[in-house]
């Protein structure tokens, strides 16, 4: 039986997807503004952030309204409750993109610090994780959500590798300390975006299967 409520939930999903699409674009732009040294794309990241913030407010209100007026249960409840958690993750990811874009405007005035493609790989992994987390939500794909969660370790390793490389560079050449410091903030923001993609994937599993996969160490050792 089709309910009017189903239309409201469909609209909620569509608005969430629109927000996710804007954040995905922001992440792609951070890569371009930094690696292609495009200040115009850095500006675009900030422009998109206003839309993301507006969508956050709209979705927050929609979720509160649906909880109050529809008193949802089961999968409906899980969808709305998780949307209330996914939305701030996306909004924070947008903020991280703005942080990267601001640093890019400074870094673009100076010579590159790293010669290899490690930055590109980190940016691509992060972007891919967010896209796949959103795809898992759209397609109701639990396997894809699990793959995103597992991928976080790869991003963490890449982050540590680049961080160590930057540290070595700063020790060897004090003239690159300022550039490297900005870059450390950039990679930290990408690493955080990957964490947010992981959190979204965890919410997708809660929506699909009603299971909470967060903080597994607490479930393995509940008295710890």
């Amino acid at each position: 039986m089709m309910r009017h409520f189903d239309n409201e939930l469909r609209d909620l999903k569509l608005n969430l997807l629109a927000m996710a699409g804007q954040v995905e674009e922001q992440i792609a732009l951070t890569q371009q503004c930094l690696l292609e040294r495009s200040n115009a794309k850095a500006e675009r990241v900030s422009q998109l952030d206003k839309i993301v913030d507006e969508t956050e407010l709209k979705l927050d209100q929609t979720c509160i309204d649906l909880l109050a007026l529809r008193a949802p249960f089961a999968s409906d409840l899980r969808l709305i409750a998780s949307t209330l958690k996914i939305v701030p993750e996306l909004e924070r990811a947008g903020d991280h993109c703005c942080n990267i874009a601001r640093r890019a405007l400074i870094l673009n005035l100076q010579p590159p610090v790293l010669k290899d493609d490690s930055l590109k790989r980190l940016a691509e992994e992060t972007h891919s994780m967010m896209c796949r987390a959103v795809d898992a939500f759209v397609n109701g794909d639990g396997d894809m959500a699990r793959a995103v969660i597992l991928n976080d370790d790869k991003v963490d390793d890449l982050y540590v590798q680049i961080y160590s490389e930057l540290l070595r560079g700063m020790l060897a050449d004090p003239l690159c300390i300022e550039r490297s410091s900005h870059l450390i903030i950039v990679i930290k923001n990408w690493e955080r975006i990957a964490d947010q993609a992981t959190n979204i994937a965890e919410e997708v599993l809660f929506i699909l299967e009603g299971i909470n996969v967060k903080h597994r160490y607490l479930q393995a050792h509940p008295k710890a």
Partner: protein, 249 residues
């Protein structure tokens, strides 16, 4: 614990309950939900042998209270109904009796005549039913002067006065406003300390907020039962999901 095993009930050979096995633990409020005609009320009424009075009704299987079979031929249905009280959808106080006499009517039927004892029992039952403060100055008035919610709490007091072990509630709030409903639900939480409470309700919000365990029946069969929190957030059966989210029924 109240429990039924493979409980089957038919009326004029038409099966209404098709082998339900279910436990109702002590100090818990258990809700029975399901669409109209699924057998919820039939199940509830089986617990205090109300079908004994229905022509054409046949009950097979087992219902036990603390391990004792209530359908044992040696058991007196009247005594069973003292141990297992029931409150109905529509408040049904005796209109010709006063509030006081309504409260102690079960005790009078049991042969208790000591006036002091009856007064003490009436006050205790009305306090337990959260009605005492509202009626203590008009115990001799007609129950028909009370509001619908008060009448329902009077019926609960009447059931409590005989000190039952189980309280069965068949849609007790369906005719009540939200304030009266909240009072009944608060009362259920207090009674849970010492009684097994079983409630049949069509109101999903009420089942979710006022019960510890929920059983979902469909066409005379138990589809799913478990902790209320689990049933209303992550039901295991798609049929339960569809019912509680309003997709069918």
């Amino acid at each position: 614990m109240l429990a039924c095993q493979n409980l089957k009930i038919e009326f004029d050979r038409k099966p209404v309950l098709k082998g339900v096995t279910l436990d109702f633990p002590a100090q818990k409020i258990s809700a029975i939900i399901g669409p109209s005609g699924c057998g919820k009320s039939t199940l509830l009424r089986a617990f205090n042998r109300m079908h004994d009075l229905t022509p054409g009704a046949k009950v097979t299987g087992s219902v036990t209270l603390n391990g004792r079979e209530i359908y044992d031929g040696a058991e007196d249905p009247v005594l069973i109904r003292r141990r297992i009280g029931m409150v109905f959808q529509k408040a049904n106080p005796f209109p010709t009796l006063s509030i006081f006499e309504n409260t102690i009517s079960g005790l009078r039927l049991s042969g208790v005549g000591n006036r002091a004892l009856l007064h003490e029992a009436a006050e205790k039952a009305l306090v337990d039913a959260a009605l005492w403060d509202e009626v203590k100055d008009r115990l001799k008035s007609s129950p028909m002067s009370l509001s619908g919610g008060q009448q329902q709490r009077l019926c609960i007091a009447r059931a409590l006065a005989v000190d039952p072990e189980v309280l069965l509630m068949d849609e007790p709030c369906s005719a009540l406003d939200p304030i009266a409903t909240a009072k009944i639900e608060e009362l259920m939480f207090r009674l849970r300390e010492r009684l097994i409470v079983v409630i049949v309700t069509h109101n999903m919000q009420q089942a979710a907020r006022a019960s510890d365990r929920t059983a979902f029946l469909w066409m005379g069969e138990l589809v799913e039962e478990g902790e209320t929190e689990a049933i209303f957030t992550s039901p295991k059966k798609s049929m339960t999901e569809d019912y509680i989210t309003g997709r069918f029924g």
